[in-house]
Amino acid sequence: MQRTDRERKQEQTGVSRISQAFERAQKLRSAALMPYFTLGYPTMESSVEIISAVAEESDLLELGVPFSDPLADGPTIQRSTQQALDNGTTVAGCLQMVAQLRRRGIDTPILLMGYYNPVMAYGEEAYVRDAAAAGADGFIIPDLPLEEAAEMEALADNYGLALVYFLAPTSPEARIAAVARHAKGFIYLVSLTGVTGARAALHADLGDFISRVRRQTTVPLAVGFGISTPEQAAAVGQLADGVIVGSAVINAADAAEDKPAAARQFVKSLQEGLNRR
């Protein structure tokens, strides 16, 4: 059935929900906070509790769909995804957890972070369709660079969801331009050459890298990898539109008895860091 332009505009898509989250954050301060947590970790039940608590302090959520061979991830996320798999977490189970979060009334935009092989096994189209139905807003697939992503991008477009692309400090101008042409929602900037995980210091060239990308696009730029403290989040928040923190959230939950409270408290401290700017 044909929809009028007016109807189409009123419809919320995953892409528009992601964009609005960045706009809201920008109005309040300037960087949106996007914590990462692994679905199915540390147990299937507590995972949803922790994510629900974290969502209270988050502008967007990046939720990990576990894979046995996460080659872009460091030890913390590797350990969490392996535990999630040992707990019996499946792709379908992850989508059910997303639906459960939505039923609880959590309306924070959700990006599903997962490697390509489980997506292929589930079926690309079925994955996008079921993720949309569950209430996800976009996808982050670390081993699917632009050159291999045409099919997933078309499917995500069909459902109004964002396929988020990465750029790295190693990306030359031509790749930045190509990614900028395809970008929806935001671009995920990898802060350093390396895998995910907490680092003592931020990369010295991060500002230059962000400026190089900024010159080529108006899409929000979110920076992740290696950001683990409120001070680092604040420093990155000065430069970028979004700050992604993963391993440090998992470490915070691991260290406490009351994991939802501890994870939420840690994410709150990151927000306070961003607000101090």
Partner: protein, 402 residues
Amino acid sequence: MQEKLPTQPDAQGKFGPYGGQFVPETLMPALEELLTAYQEARADAEFMGEFHRLLKDYVGRPSALTHAKRLSEQLGGAQIYLKREDLNHSGAHKINNALGQALLAKRMGKKRIVAETGAGQHGVGSATACALLGLECIVYMGTVDIARQQPNVYRMKLLGAEVRPVSSGSKTLKDAINEAIRDWVTNVDSTHYLLGSVLGPHPYPMMVRDFQSVIGAEAREQMLAACGRLPDSIIACVGGGSNAMGIFHAFRDDHEVDFIGVEAGGEGIESGKHAARFADLNISRLGVLQGTKSFVMQTADGQIMETHSISAGLDYPSVGPEHAWMRDQERAGYTYATDAEALAAFQRLSETEGIIPALESAHAVAEAIKLAPTMRPDQILLVNLSGRGDKDLDTVINQLAL
């Protein structure tokens, strides 16, 4: 009329639907740089001259072609010829590719090499090439493989390489590759990843094949010189598949020559404990692992399965993309040998020919033992004896209760 198979992947690095570049963005520029450097080097007579000089003066190529006369007579069928990659310096075909890539790394100004190893042959090959060319060498190796291939661990250390144990996942080759890629992504400016098989993202499957294609080029000439004709079939074991692709490549337009790849049948296909990607299509499906699209042994949910083989070098859940494509094109056929068959072949070749093969290569010998009696004495089987078995003595001694 049969069509020639194109010898290069397409612009996206694909062999039909297989291959490609499924890696994190950080590595995409490094792959582009590698492809450009490799294409320039391949067209540079000086570079290729240096490569071939080292293959001759250092590796000891050409490797011999040996008529396995007693084994052939015993089997009473086809004549079995062995391409003796086991005679190469450092004990296997792996040195061909290791030297090629180490030379390329040096040309690119990369002073640090990371490599993965399963059986340890590629680790030893890499450590050898790095010692020769003055490069730093770090080899990732699963702790399960470290335990079963101790002699090669000592060799690598003696050659000045650092062996980093990997205790994640199945603690074998697959996990060693994950760690090597994580190292590469972290140190991409200074480091070349010396991948040891026809696996991983483009251009590795093409480049590794090219460096290994010297095996087939020599064998083709040697067969013509020895027998005045080409073999009826060529048999090679297939883990990632570099020795197989290396010997097949020069014969790809000789359509009278059949290609047979032999995977690791482990404890049998029904047991589920194997690494026969093409034999068990219920659990082996099109997937993406470690940068390339190919057949991948996986659960219904897309998690990579643990594999089993008595030979560490064949113990891997995916297979080179060009193999998958040659299979689709029916240019190559694939079968498997079980652990028990490989052990029997190991022992039989040792006793009948005085040649102790690597357990990997023993899988190819096992297939020759099955096939030869079904053929006429004027027919020829060419077996790629990809490596020697010194490294496997502990495993074999335990299994055979010697």
